[in-house]
């Protein structure tokens, strides 16, 4: 039922003379901008944007939206991404007058409500992390990683130490090495271990007075809690290094254990994952970082501070830059719209609810694992935290069905695909994260679909999906001859 006419490119719908937005004539004496600006600064014509009506725009983008799968419409077990339900109340509240419409350079006295909330958010994130000092500035997880590594670099510089190496396991997110490189460190990747955990001996081989930071996701990207994390941390600290916790998998451990308690010195959150900021088809995210007290002076500003007046009994909130701050990592103040949604979520959950999030997420993941282990090989054991990584390797060998085939066929069954081919250490990886916001019925239906798919004809699967408007795209020709924009025919 695709509306082919309305879902042409918006540029193909353009007709000269059509328009949507209209503005009044200038009401000031000089109505010609051309008389006010130097001629050589002025364009002869406005940019050649498409010319369409408002109803063209609405029908086009509403129809396009129906070509997406989303959390609102489908089970979306994309491993490592925590695609949980996004409460609608958050959307209403984020738009409230006083939240959605305040300017970043307003005077603080007219922002006390906002600053108070951001202050509380810093406190809550510090408490959940067990790392008391928080900066809300980073715009996404990768931005948080880089920011924390710059904090570490500033700390070492201040101490007169030349530490150049950042170490991470092979199962790390690609952002870890990329962030380390941008922050000016050399990268050391530990080889994959057989049991999925960090190999302490291998790690120790690389620890010395050049070691700056060990970056680790915990639970790791295989969905396993790094059982030796306290010892890892001890060894890092012994040589004067720091431990960075990639918080991508915080959904497994909220209120159960805390990065600061298991030896982390710094971490980032993904508010858009753990605290249900909507993923927005790729963003915005929000990646605040939490660090130990001795790193607090280096955090990027601004930070919200509270001053209690003994006289009035009132608290006043203001912005401040930490004493030896690394400086800004972006303009203005963090991705506030997403931070607010995270704040609304935490206030809705309370201490018990926050812990239940992780309990239910881990229950759902283990349940799905138990339902699938007879058809999908799970190389790293029959228990997991909030997600697990299966391997389609034996399916490939037995029936010629790849992880990609499985992923594409799931779309036909009305499920978004899991993450496939990540982490890189598992061949034909299928990484499944159901989240806590799915019912047993949904998990049963998903498991049933996979049971059916693995029995289907490999030929049918190689051609999947069959029910979407488009079949598999030709990625090779896309990359060989990149077409990155529309151009008018004949130009």
């Amino acid at each position: 039922m695709r509306n082919r006419q309305a879902t042409q490119l918006i540029f193909e719908l353009s007709r000269p003379g059509r328009r949507a937005a209209r503005f009044p004539r200038p009401d000031v004496p000089q109505t010609e901008a051309s008389a006010l600006l130097p001629a050589d600064a002025l364009a002869s014509a406005p940019p050649p944007l498409p010319e369409v009506t408002e109803s063209d725009v609405i029908r086009h983008y509403v129809n396009l939206s129906t070509l997406n799968m989303s959390v609102d419409t489908h089970f979306y077990p994309l491993g490592s991404c925590t695609m949980k339900y996004n409460p609608k109340r958050h959307e209403r509240w984020a738009r409230l007058g006083g939240f959605g419409d305040v300017h970043p350079y307003q005077t603080e006295s007219r922002l006390q409500g906002m600053l108070g909330i951001l202050y509380e958010m810093q406190q809550m994130l510090g408490e959940i992390a067990g790392l008391p000092a928080v900066s809300l500035q980073p715009a996404a997880g990768a931005h948080g990683e880089m920011t924390a590594l710059l904090v570490a670099a500033a700390y070492f510089r201040e101490r007169g130490e030349k530490r150049t190496k950042v170490i991470f396991p092979a199962s790390a997110h690609g952002t870890n090495p990329a962030s380390a490189a941008i922050a000016g460190f050399d990268c050391i990747q530990l080889p994959p271990s057989a049991n999925g955990f960090v190999d302490l001996d291998r790690l120790s081989e690389h620890l010395n007075d050049e070691t700056a930071v060990f970056m680790i996701t915990n639970p790791n990207t295989l969905g396993l809690f790094e059982k030796d994390i306290a010892e890892i941390s001890r060894r890092l600290h012994e040589v004067g290094g720091l431990v960075y916790i990639d918080g991508a998998n915080m959904n497994a451990i909220l209120g159960i254990t805390r990065p600061g308690d298991f030896g982390g010195d710094m971490m980032h959150y993904n508010v858009h994952k753990t605290f249900t900021g909507p993923h927005g088809a790729g963003g915005p995210g929000s990646g605040p970082i939490a660090v130990r007290d001795f790193l607090a002076p280096y955090l990027p500003g601004p930070i919200v501070v509270r001053n209690d007046s003994a006289a009035s009994g009132k608290s006043v909130y203001s912005l401040a830059d930490p004493e030896k701050s690394i400086g800004r990592v972006r303009s203005f103040f963090g991705n506030v719209g997403i931070l607010l949604r995270g704040y609304f979520y935490l206030r809705t959950l309370g201490p018990d609810g926050v812990k239940q999030v992780s309990e239910q997420a881990v229950l759902n993941a283990n349940y799905l694992l138990a339902k699938l282990i007879d058809v999908l090989n799970v190389p790293h054991g029959n228990r997991c935290m909030h997600e697990f990584v299966a391997s389609a390797k034996s399916l490939v060998e037995r029936r010629g069905i790849s992880a990609m085939d499985l992923a594409k066929r799931l779309l036909d069954y009305g499920f978004h695909a899991p993450t496939v081919y990540f982490p890189l250490v598992v061949p034909e990886a299928v990484m499944i994260e159901p989240t806590e916001t799915e019912s047993r019925e949904t998990l049963d239906a998903f498991a049933e679909a996979i049971h059916q798919i693995v029995e289907e004809s490999p030929e049918l699967l190689h051609q999947a999906p069959h029910s979407t408007f488009n079949s598999r795209p030709d990625d090779v020709s896309a990359a060989r001859k990149p077409v990155l924009k529309w151009t008018a025919a004949g130009t």
Binding site: D475, V476, R480
Partner: protein, 128 residues
């Protein structure tokens, strides 16, 4: 091209030297690892490279590998035929799929490279 006439780097480039100019390409083994080539980035002619320096990129849709200069010197030619036909790199890596030519500044560096037997052993060990 007969592999026994070539020298190899651990990073899977081959070198053949004539009159102080090294022709560089990628080995059969490396070419065999590539499928769906999507882009080859070559250094500009005139660029000074040093042995072990990355001087180009070979991309497939899902992976990217660096091309490392096996010897130091000035890039005096690049194989522009590759830009029109990426598949030359995989179909004839030791011949029409050569990548760059470098006027060597230190011919002694050749001693650090492997002969074809040693390289074969290196590939066997990497495959495991």
């Amino acid at each position: 091209m007969d592999p026994s006439q070539l020298k190899f780097a651990k990073t899977h480039e081959w070198v053949q030297v004539a009159e102080g100019v090294a022709t560089v390409g990628i080995s059969q083994f490396a070419a065999g690892q590539l499928s769906d080539l999507s882009y080859i980035e070559l250094p500009e002619v005139g660029r000074q490279v040093s042995a072990g320096e990355d001087c180009g990129v070979i991309e497939t849709v899902k992976a990217a590998s660096d091309l490392y200069a096996p010897v130091s010197g000035e890039v005096v030619a690049v194989n522009s035929a590759l830009e029109d036909d990426y598949d030359l790199l995989t179909s004839d890596p030791l011949g029409k799929g050569w990548v760059i030519r470098v006027r060597m500044s230190d011919p002694g560096e050749l001693d650090a490279l492997m002969d074809s037997n040693a390289y074969q052993a290196h590939c066997d060990s990497e495959a495991h």
